[in-house]
């Protein structure tokens, strides 16, 4: 810090000191600056005593009354517009997804289960204890549903049919078919071998 800066610091420190300096201890510039400083302090003290809640006090911050700034409500109301539409779009997507999931769930629950229930009712007497545990009445027998009638008509298998015979017959037919295929392929292989032998002999000039 050079001499000029040191002197500046001394002047400012003395002019703004909290302690009372006798006027003769201050140089002319410090004394004149201190007058303004004390005047400012007096105004501040009076303002503090009065509470400082006056209309004029709000202008201090900007230094100019025309620059006092307060957030207008209009700017606040403009901001949520796009966010409102965004939220509405997201909500509609959510509702659509929920409806789609609900429809799939309903189809998954009622469709296949209903079919399986129909098959079960139509074919398995164990699942119909009420009909077989008691003697069926003519009225109840006549009340069989249409799906049960369809299931019982035609070539549909009945509970208690011998499935083993059919399975055995199908298995034997399969074995016969395989044997035929092997025989045909072996025949073709034999013809091919004969042709090869004839070819070799022709090349050797034996024929």
């Amino acid at each position: 810090m050079n001499e000029e800066q040191r002197k500046l610091r001394e002047i400012v420190e003395r002019a703004t000191a909290a302690d009372d300096f006798p006027p003769d201890e201050l140089d002319a510039e410090a004394a004149s600056l201190r007058k303004g400083w004390l005047q400012l302090g007096r105004l501040i003290e009076e303002d503090v005593r009065s509470g400082g809640k006056h209309p004029g006090s709000r202008h201090v911050a900007s230094g100019n009354p025309s620059r006092v700034k307060v957030a207008p409500p209009a700017s606040r109301s403009r901001q949520p517009k796009w966010s409102f539409w965004l939220v509405a779009f997201a909500a509609s997507l959510l509702v659509a997804a929920g409806v789609a999931f609900g429809l799939r769930f309903m189809n998954g629950v009622h469709g296949p289960q209903q079919d399986s229930l129909q098959v079960t009712r139509g074919n398995d007497p164990a699942k119909q204890p009420t009909e077989h545990a008691t003697t069926p009445k003519p009225e109840s027998a006549s009340k069989v549903g249409p799906e049960t009638q369809v299931a019982n008509s035609g070539d549909a298998m009945q509970w208690g049919d011998s499935v083993d015979d059919d399975i055995t017959a199908v298995g034997q037919a399969t074995i016969y078919a395989q044997q035929d295929a092997y025989a045909q392929s072996s025949g073709a292989w034999g013809i091919q071998a004969g042709l090869n032998e004839l070819k070799q002999e022709m090349e050797l000039g034996n024929l």
Binding site: L8, K35, L40, D47, P55, S57, V60
Partner: protein, 194 residues
């Protein structure tokens, strides 16, 4: 500086629960004492910087809330006022940065939003209003940095090194701002605009 920051975190400072509770109580008393002893200075500084009463109330609470939050890092050295005034300065500057996009309402709207008090004696009210207007007129002559520097000096008796650190400028710059501000005040109170 008159205060230092303790870098230890909260868990490391107070190892057990009883000590923590006792320390909480001590800290609460200390912050309450800060409000009692230095609340007026902090409010006065904020009044000089921001001016508007609603902002002063908000910032006043914010200053002591920040002081409460930072109590773990504060070590008492007997100069709490400078610590609080620095927080007040940061809070005020931060508020101004955040409210740059605001627009003016004008005096007519203000007179509706903040009607004059009717309970006071009109003569007292006029006198107070005159004082306030004089103070506002004087402060309006100062630049923002001059105002901050002089008010920190007035309310906190901060040294010029502390003022320079708070404002964020070299010591000589802070001295120059104070000197020019004092010259401006002298000219203003002598009767003419500078």
């Amino acid at each position: 500086m008159n205060f230092v920051c303790n870098k230890d975190d909260r868990s490391g400072v107070y190892p057990n629960a009883m000590e923590t509770i006792m320390q909480e109580s001590v800290d609460s008393e200390r912050v309450a004492e800060w409000v009692r002893e230095h609340g007026g200075a902090v409010r006065g500084y904020l009044r000089g910087i921001v001016g508007r009463q609603d902002l002063i109330d908000d910032l006043f609470q914010e200053v002591f809330f920040r002081a409460w939050q930072g109590r773990w890092r504060y070590e008492e050295r007997g100069f709490a006022r400078s610590y609080l005034l620095q927080i007040a300065d940061w809070a005020a500057c931060d508020r101004f940065r955040r409210t740059k996009s605001e627009t003016s309402l004008g005096d007519e709207v203000w007179s509706i939003e903040e009607p004059a008090a009717t309970a006071m004696n009109p003569a007292v009210l006029a006198s107070n209003s005159e004082t306030t207007n004089q103070l506002d007129a004087a402060l309006r002559q100062l630049g923002p940095i001059q105002r901050r520097a002089l008010l920190l000096r007035y309310f906190g008796q901060l040294s010029f090194s502390e003022i320079a650190e708070t404002i964020g400028c070299p010591l000589n710059t802070a001295l120059s701002h104070c000197h020019r501000g004092l010259q401006t005040l002298r000219k203003h109170f002598e009767g003419g605009e500078p």
